[in-house]
């Protein structure tokens, strides 16, 4: 397929690879080099710190809530956008992307404005004795907001391309709506959905800006992994910071590998590729 293009000059390829190495691979390599430099033993010792363990637990909790909620929410939103014509559909499609285009600081700040001590809902929360900002609920809300678009962005184009014929066929064959969803809608988008979930998870674990605004940075309580890394670094505990950073980077690499594997699978699998009839 590439044969139609004239051969790319070797120099251009090398230049592109050099930029990639300098801007992407080198920083990543530095993280792991620092860790190896201090020795695996010392690196692992950094995880004995209860505050670091709390940060890992908190990140897992936040991701553990955000991923299923936004997977289901994204699936529902995608299906509505792709299958129905309704007033405000275009608006919805645009606003779904908002979290990606707005600065993460703002994504955090809106929650402070709503639920903070001076926020709109502060009186109501006070009465109920609930704390949202500077607590886990705030971290979850900020993460939910930031990660909402990932599944929708994967699914809507695919669902639009596939059309609704197969779903209608299922209905005429006697399927109830739930059976239609389970046997036709979901299998048709499963690989794209999985890719969206991977990206969603990576962002949920790695988000810094939005959660830093709502976190309040209470050690051992409201620091997620990225915030803990910054805290450690500011405390001149560079080795511990790099250990944690390596763990987070490893997660990103695994995500990337899984996504690449999925894409490779999608290209090969007969059932996943969209074939125009």
């Amino acid at each position: 397929m590439t044969a139609r293009f004239p051969p790319v000059p070797v120099a251009v390829v090398l230049a592109a690879l050099a930029v990639l190495a300098l801007l992407v691979l080198l920083p990543l390599a530095v993280v792991f080099a620092e860790v190896l430099d201090q020795g695996i033993g010392r690196a692992l010792a950094a995880f004995d710190d209860p505050e670091s363990q709390a940060a890992i637990r908190l990140s897992l909790l936040v991701a553990g809530i955000s991923v299923p909620v936004n997977t289901l929410g994204g699936l529902a939103a995608s299906w509505c956008i792709a299958r129905f014509r309704f007033a405000g559909r275009g608006l919805l499609l645009t606003f779904v992307e908002l979290p990606l285009s707005v600065s993460p600081v703002i994504s955090g700040l809106v929650w402070v404005l709503l639920f903070g001590a001076q926020g709109w809902f502060a009186p109501a929360l006070d009465r109920l004795g609930l704390q949202v900002i500077f607590a886990t609920p705030g971290l979850v809300l900020a993460t939910l907001f930031v990660t909402f678009p990932y599944v929708v962005r994967q699914l809507v184009p695919l669902m639009l391309a596939q059309g609704s014929d197969e779903e209608e066929a299922a209905l005429t064959l006697g399927a109830r709506p739930w059976a239609m969803f389970w046997h036709v809608t979901l299998p048709n988008v499963r690989w794209a959905l999985l890719q969206g979930v991977l990206l969603l998870n990576a962002r949920a674990m790695g988000e810094f800006g939005a959660v830093s605004v709502v976190s309040g940075r209470i050690r051992g309580q409201t620091l997620t992994m990225p915030l803990q890394i910054e805290a450690l670094y500011n405390d001149f505990q560079a080795p511990a910071a790099f250990s944690m950073a390596a763990l987070l980077a490893l997660l990103a690499l695994v995500t990337l590998a899984a996504k690449a594997a999925l894409e490779w699978h999608t290209r090969r699998a007969p059932d996943a590729a969209w074939v125009p009839a």
């Binding site: 197969e166 209608e168 209905l171 005429t172 046997h183 299998p187 059932d271 009839a277």
Partner: protein
């Protein structure tokens, strides 16, 4: 099972799509909905299936009103234009789908489903392809799988939306014949949507010709040929030569040298004389002139009369006339349709095919008027 539509109307936003459709199909009948794109035929089919709701009017299947009955409970087999096979399922799983999603009480056991799938695969003549995925099949094979899948639920009515639209000509012809045989064997009531008049006239017992959300005419293929109800129907079911004329006192005059006056039953006013190319007779001597003649299965002749170019067909074996020779036309087989009435607007916009013949005549006819 019998099928009846009464007073069906539908608007999409501000656009009216169907205006009060009344249509019926008897049990075991093969009905074709024929019309150009945008005539509402697919919308009508989707309403029978329950995939689209009518704004008003009634759909009855087997005498039962289908209002409020969802698609899954109507017992219709629907074959989609692009087949809509489940891409992640094998052929066998596609066919078995309708049986597997039945409520447990009515669901056959796995062995029974397997047997039914094998039976249907045999019926559509592709038993060896049970394990294939849809994208490993040709268009014709997909079509057959879609049919087998629709038949698996033992539908009361079979609905086909442009079933041969995406296939090449040869496969179409074979499938067409096969479909008719299948219909006869199963005894199903079948409704097929198509824009191809040859297809509709060859396969169906009766053809409903649709235009702009209305049914123009419903009749048997022979009936449509013998007595087309409007110029639109005449034009739509086959090649047409259209000659504008003026009727006065029971005589149609063309005002073109070489075209004889004809008796005509229409009231005074503008009219269209319509003929099939093979119905036009050609005789030597006269004010018209032979422009071109080409031998083929039958002899195709172009005749110039005044500003008009008329294309006609002589029967096989006829001797092609000499080019440039004087001739006159025999138009006694003409059928007249009034013009100017709302149902017969200017003919230019709606000759959907056969453009070389009718289009040129229309062009020059318009230039004259």
């Amino acid at each position: 099972m019998s099928l009846a539509l009464q007073g069906i109307t539908k608007r999409f936003g501000a656009t009216p799509a169907l205006h009060g459709i009344d249509l019926a199909a008897a049990e075991g009948e093969f009905l074709a909905l024929l019309g150009p794109s945008g005539s509402g035929k697919t919308t009508l089919l989707r309403m029978i299936a329950g995939l689209e709701a009518a704004d008003s009017g009634r759909v009855q299947i087997g005498g039962a009103d289908m209002a409020g009955v969802p698609a899954r409970a109507r017992g219709v087999g629907f074959v989609f234009q692009h087949y809509a096979l489940f891409r992640h399922m094998t052929v066998a799983d596609n066919i078995a789908f309708g049986l597997r999603v039945r409520p447990r009480a009515r669901r056959p056991g796995p062995a029974a489903i397997r047997a039914r799938v094998a039976e249907l695969l045999a019926l559509v003549q592709m038993p060896e392809l049970a394990g294939r995925y849809p994208d490993q099949l040709s268009g014709g094979q997909r079509q057959r799988v879609a049919l087998a899948r629709a038949l698996a639920i033992e539908p009361r009515v079979l609905l086909l939306d442009e079933p041969f639209g995406a296939l090449d000509a040869e496969v179409r012809r074979d499938l067409r014949r096969w479909l008719r045989e299948l219909h006869d064997r199963t005894g199903l009531t079948t409704v097929m949507v198509t824009h191809d008049q040859a297809e509709a006239l060859e396969v169906a017992d009766r053809v409903a010709i649709m235009r702009g959300g209305r049914v123009e005419q419903v009749d048997t293929p022979a009936g449509l040929w013998a007595a087309p109800a409007s110029a639109f129907v005449y034009r739509f079911i086959g090649d047409a030569v259209e000659l504008p004329c003026a009727v006065r006192g029971g005589i149609a005059r063309f005002g073109v040298p070489g075209l004889p006056d004809l008796p005509c039953q229409l009231p005074d006013g503008d009219a269209l004389a319509m003929l099939r190319p093979h119905e036009i007779g050609l005789a030597e001597g006269g004010e018209a002139r032979v422009r071109a003649a080409a031998a083929g299965p039958s002899v195709r002749v172009e005749v110039q009369a005044g500003g008009l170019v008329i294309e006609l067909l002589l029967p096989p074996g006829a001797v092609p006339p000499a080019i440039g020779s004087a001739c006159r036309l025999d138009l006694r087989a003409a059928r007249f349709f009034g013009r100017g009435a709302a149902q017969n607007p200017a003919p230019v916009a709606m000759c959907p095919r056969r453009a070389p013949c009718a289009g040129r005549i229309q062009g020059s006819a318009l230039a004259l008027s």
